[in-house]
Amino acid sequence: MRDVAGIVLIVAAGMAGYWLFPDNLALLTRVIAVALLVLSIDLIVGYCGVATLGQAALFGAGAYAAGIACVNGVTEPLTLIAIGALAGAVAGLLMGTIMLRAHGLAQLVLSIAIVQLFHEAANKASAYTGGSDGLAGLTVGPLFGVFEFDLWGQTAYLFGLALLVLVFIALKFVVSSPFGMLCRGIKEDPVRIKAMGSFVFPVLLKMFVISGAVAGIGGALAAISTQVVGLDSVSFELSANSLVMLVLGGLGTLYGALVGTVIFMGFEHAVSAINPFHWMTMVGALLIAVVLAAPGGLSGLLEKITASGKRTRGGRA
């Protein structure tokens, strides 16, 4: 019941954005694309406890795959999204296979090295990716053969919002499935999970693939809506920023990922227009404050406030 209410709330907020900021739909679509990326990080960091600073590798894989397919004549938007999801999933498989060999610091460093390697590869393969100029000239066909992607970005935004809601619902099922519970267990104590007779590596790898698909969808959406794919979509900066958004919103809850993205990007838009360095100072201070004062992020804080009266209920997540 709570989940239905939550999804209604997401749709309502999305539509409110559509009516309130008709001139900023491009930005709002970007927020949705990044929200998908942040959700994908949440699956790995929040639900499995694997720290990553390289998730943009998967986002970028989706973006470039969709972009290259589009330049080469595949213009049907849903197909492009599917291509992005597939490319992200494959990249997730690769990234998981490498990262899960290590633990702790080495794992974190591997995640960074992978995103940097992807970045350099995309830069080098300029014949396919456009290198540092970016891959431009994507012309996407109409959605369902009817709705053109217009100059104001209305179609792109509504398409993105629908995608986000669908992915969100799917992920709600994933995290509350037996598999999702198993991941939560692994996050807390992999030794215990092994003593329950379950392997750890294949479970985490599976989550990497799912996470990759979600990030890939985000990347493909970004490619379709902006009609450009730039090197910044496979950058360490994007990876680090989206991790910050997640932590800001709250690890290990899907709502937290959305809240964090919206707030972070909203403020970024407002403050960095004035001075990008003020923005950095602000994010830095906010991050320090969250780590010191609210380790559960904003959604955790909210939950604490609302749940302070009804602690006995517990149990149901």
């Binding site: 598999f179 519970m181 267990g185 807390e188 003593a195 007779g197 379950s198």
Partner: protein, 254 residues
């Protein structure tokens, strides 16, 4: 040959130090064996060797006539070799019901499914309720583990182990850290363990050992120094020297 479970010459060296030396023992189905020994005797190392958390330097572990020494911890659990932990290892954010459900689903190879609901299976739910009922955990089934009493957490450890339908169960100090007022509940749970199950229990509480075990093995400095029935333990001079001397002193003080 009728032994359900056997270890032969199990040896583990850390550097030059032998923490397990040539340990051999056998357990038929329905066995109730207690493994005792002073601190540092290598009891938990032994459990780790048997369950595959550690690889032995030499020796074999045989379950149901099959050599499982080369298998990892997970495969051994799946073959029915199950342990509990000396210090409980539970997920503080989950409820007992969720722990046992996850375990049962895992046993049925359904725990990695994405396209099914965690509580969607009535048969599983029934089994979980049965297990929690047997161990007296029904009233806290939906409380987070972090909020329930330590004695109840220990019972949950046993419930998880039983949910795996083990053939051999290794209990690593099932009553450790439990206030004495709660030990009777643990003991009750131990008495109700399935009769055909082979149980090896490590325990410091000698009263519990004497009531529970049909046989006792004493480990000191990584070596077995005594095998026999509980009534003979106290009379054995090597055991006295290594262990019960201290124990007897402690009791006379208490």
């Amino acid at each position: 040959m009728s032994d359900l479970f056997r270890v032969e010459g199990l040896t583990k060296n850390f550097g030059g130090l032998a923490v397990s030396r040539e340990i051999s023992l056998a357990m038929p189905a329905g066995e109730r064996l207690a493994l005792i020994g002073p601190n540092g005797a290598g009891k938990t190392t032994f459990v780790n060797l048997v369950t595959g958390q550690l690889q032995p330097s030499a020796g074999r572990v045989v379950l149901n006539g099959e050599d499982v020494t080369g298998l990892g911890a997970v495969e051994r659990v799946r073959k029915g070799l199950v342990r509990t932990f000396q210090v409980t290892r539970l997920f503080s954010d989950m409820t007992p019901e969720e722990h046992v459900t996850l375990t049962v689903l895992q046993r049925e190879r359904k725990a990695t499914r994405i396209l099914s609901r965690f509580r969607g299976n009535a048969e599983v739910a029934g089994e979980v309720e049965g297990l929690l009922g047997t161990l007296g955990l029904l009233e806290v089934a939906r409380r987070k583990v972090g909020e329930i009493a330590y004695g109840q957490q220990r019972l949950l450890e046993i419930a998880i182990a039983l949910a795996l339908r083990p053939k051999v169960l290794l209990l690593d100090e099932p009553a450790a850290g439990v206030p004495s007022s709660d030990t009777p509940r643990i003991e009750q749970a131990l008495e109700r363990l399935p009769p055909e199950l082979a149980v090896l229990m490590i325990e410091h509480d000698m009263d519990l050992v004497f009531r529970f075990a049909k046989r006792v093995v004493v480990l000191a400095a990584g070596e077995i120094i005594f095998k026999g029935v509980p009534s003979e333990v106290a009379a054995n001079s090597r055991v006295r020297e290594a262990y019960l001397g201290n124990y007897a002193n402690a009791r006379s003080v208490a």
